[in-house]
């Protein structure tokens, strides 16, 4: 099993220089062999530590809000998660643009990874938001502009990831995904604006009175929330990216492996059949 793999990576490719060239070029760019590294392990520990700090600040050290009571504590996750959901979309769009320019697999992997992580954070945003809405607004869901556009953002991301999951030629898939990813942020902005406009016609000032001046311990808790969620986001993004990278490499290596096996088989067959 190992010998054909190592020959394709290190040894000179034979007749099929085309197929074997790519993985070597990829491996040569300092690709990690696994998803962990010293830096990401430190990052992971920092993320865990900041989550612990957030739990203390969010649940113990910060006071309850005068109006929203304890449900305000959800905000320390909700607001940062929403911010990083948008950050993930931006990374996807920028990486898609870079892929269309450079055509290097790393950008494609980054676009996909960040869209996936963004979807996770969209789910967290919607989940914490509706949990918060129940005691505050008396309902899990209202047709508020932010809720509606976030739901549409989730479907945009799901569609993008569905396109990426298809079992077709990887380059064609990357091209299509990149065009779709490039349109992601413009679409998000258009949907956001138009939904905002749509709702503002019906109800002048919506129920969202989310940012009356936050101060003191609550501000600190929110900042810790941003730190913790940011670290988790980065950690997830790095690891998802590395998994995507390994997937990409293994796809190429599998192809080479299969080619080598077929060739060996063919050689074997002729040997057997010649005397017969």
């Amino acid at each position: 099993m190992t010998s054909p793999t190592s020959t394709t990576v290190t040894g000179a490719p034979g007749a099929d220089g085309h197929a074997a060239d790519t993985p070597r070029a990829v491996a040569g760019r300092g690709a990690p062999g696994h998803t962990g590294s010293r830096a990401s392990r430190v990052l992971g520990i920092l993320a865990l530590g900041s989550i612990a700090l957030l739990v203390l600040y969010g649940l113990v050290w910060s006071p309850a809000d005068a109006e929203m009571a304890d449900s305000v504590r959800l905000m320390y996750i909700h607001v940062p998660a929403a911010s990083f959901m948008y950050a993930g979309c931006f990374i996807t769009t920028i990486a898609s643009a870079m892929w269309l320019r450079r055509r290097t697999p790393g950008w494609d992997a980054l676009a996909g990874a960040s869209a996936e992580v963004a979807l996770v954070f969209t789910a967290i945003t919607l989940g914490t938001g509706s949990l918060w809405g129940r005691p505050t607004w008396g309902t899990y869901w209202t047709w508020d502009a932010r809720l509606t556009s976030t739901a549409l953002l989730a479907t945009l991301l799901v569609g993008y990831l569905a396109l990426r999951r298809l079992d077709v030629d990887p380059t064609a898939r990357s091209t299509r995904a990149a065009v779709l990813g490039l349109l992601l942020v413009p679409n998000v902005i258009i949907v956001n604006r138009s939904v905002e406009w749509w709702r503002s016609l019906h109800q002048r000032s919506t129920l969202v009175k989310l940012d009356p001046t936050i101060e003191g311990q609550m501000l600190v808790a929110l900042m810790v929330g941003f730190l913790a969620v940011g670290l988790v986001f980065t950690w997830l993004l790095v690891h998802r990216f590395r998994v995507a990278w390994l997937e990409y490499q293994s796809e190429r290596l599998d192809l080479d492996l299969a080619l080598a096996e077929r060739r060996a088989e063919a050689g074997h067959h002729t040997d057997v059949e010649a005397p017969a």
């Binding site: 569609g159 993008y160 396109l163 380059t171 091209t175 065009v179 779709l180 413009p186 949907v191 138009s194």
Partner: protein, 222 residues
């Protein structure tokens, strides 16, 4: 570019005319949707009349999905994509041509659905200027967006199921804008509708430009 566009649009429309899929299947389907809405909402004339704009544009979107899927399917058989790639036609022209053909088909369907809404839901027409302009802008927006997204999914085995998932969230602003504009026109306050018309026109231009720019990449890259 425009000559290429006319060529491609002519081809698509000719295929559509000869295959009669639009007249024999898509048009009856879209009328059926109007009838289904009445079943779902109780044939209460007042309710239907009040919701007519929204139901109308929802029906248009459903019909549009089929029309766009058809338009993408034309290029999938007999190696038409390869032929287009080799033909030396300007990709932007191909995009504009395909979008224009979809727009013509959509306009025909919209006219039919308009008659359907007037007859079945008892809508009284008003604000003709706004209705026509908003309708045209929305049609171009849907056709341009649809052609772009149709190219994104064309040739895939899951085209029929993936297209609505990708396209409908993107078309939500078009649905909102067109519905508001029509409501304003029918309510006799066209001044409320013109800003929405602006949104529709902006979306139409935006997606037409994006599609014209991206179509070459999509044509080459698959």
């Amino acid at each position: 570019m425009w000559r290429d566009a006319a060529l491609v649009a002519g081809r698509d429309l000719r295929v559509e005319l000869r295959s009669r899929v639009t007249t024999n299947q898509v048009a009856p389907f879209s009328l059926l949707v109007l009838v289904l809405f009445a079943f779902a909402l109780d044939p209460d004339r007042q309710l239907l009349e009040r919701l007519a704009s929204g139901l109308y544009w929802t029906a248009v979107l459903f019909a549009a999905l089929l029309a766009i899927s058809r338009s993408a399917a034309i290029d999938e058989t007999d190696g038409v994509r390869d032929a287009l790639r080799l033909s030396g036609l300007d990709p932007a022209g191909v995009f504009v041509g395909k979008a224009a053909a979809v727009a013509v088909v959509l306009l025909a369907l919209e006219l039919l659905l308009g008659v359907g809404v007037v007859v079945l839901y008892g809508v009284e027409l008003a604000g003709a200027g706004l209705v026509v302009v908003a309708g045209l802008a929305a049609t171009v927006a849907v056709a341009a967006t649809g052609t772009l997204y149709g190219a994104l999914v064309s040739g895939l085995r899951v085209r029929e199921t993936l297209l609505p998932l990708l396209l409908l969230p993107v078309l939500a602003p078009v649905l909102i804008g067109a519905t508001r504009a029509f409501e304003a026109a029918l309510a006799g306050v066209p001044a409320d509708g013109w800003p929405w018309c602006g949104l529709l026109a902006g979306l139409a231009v935006l997606y037409a430009v994006a599609g014209a720019l991206a179509y070459g990449t999509l044509l080459e890259g698959s």
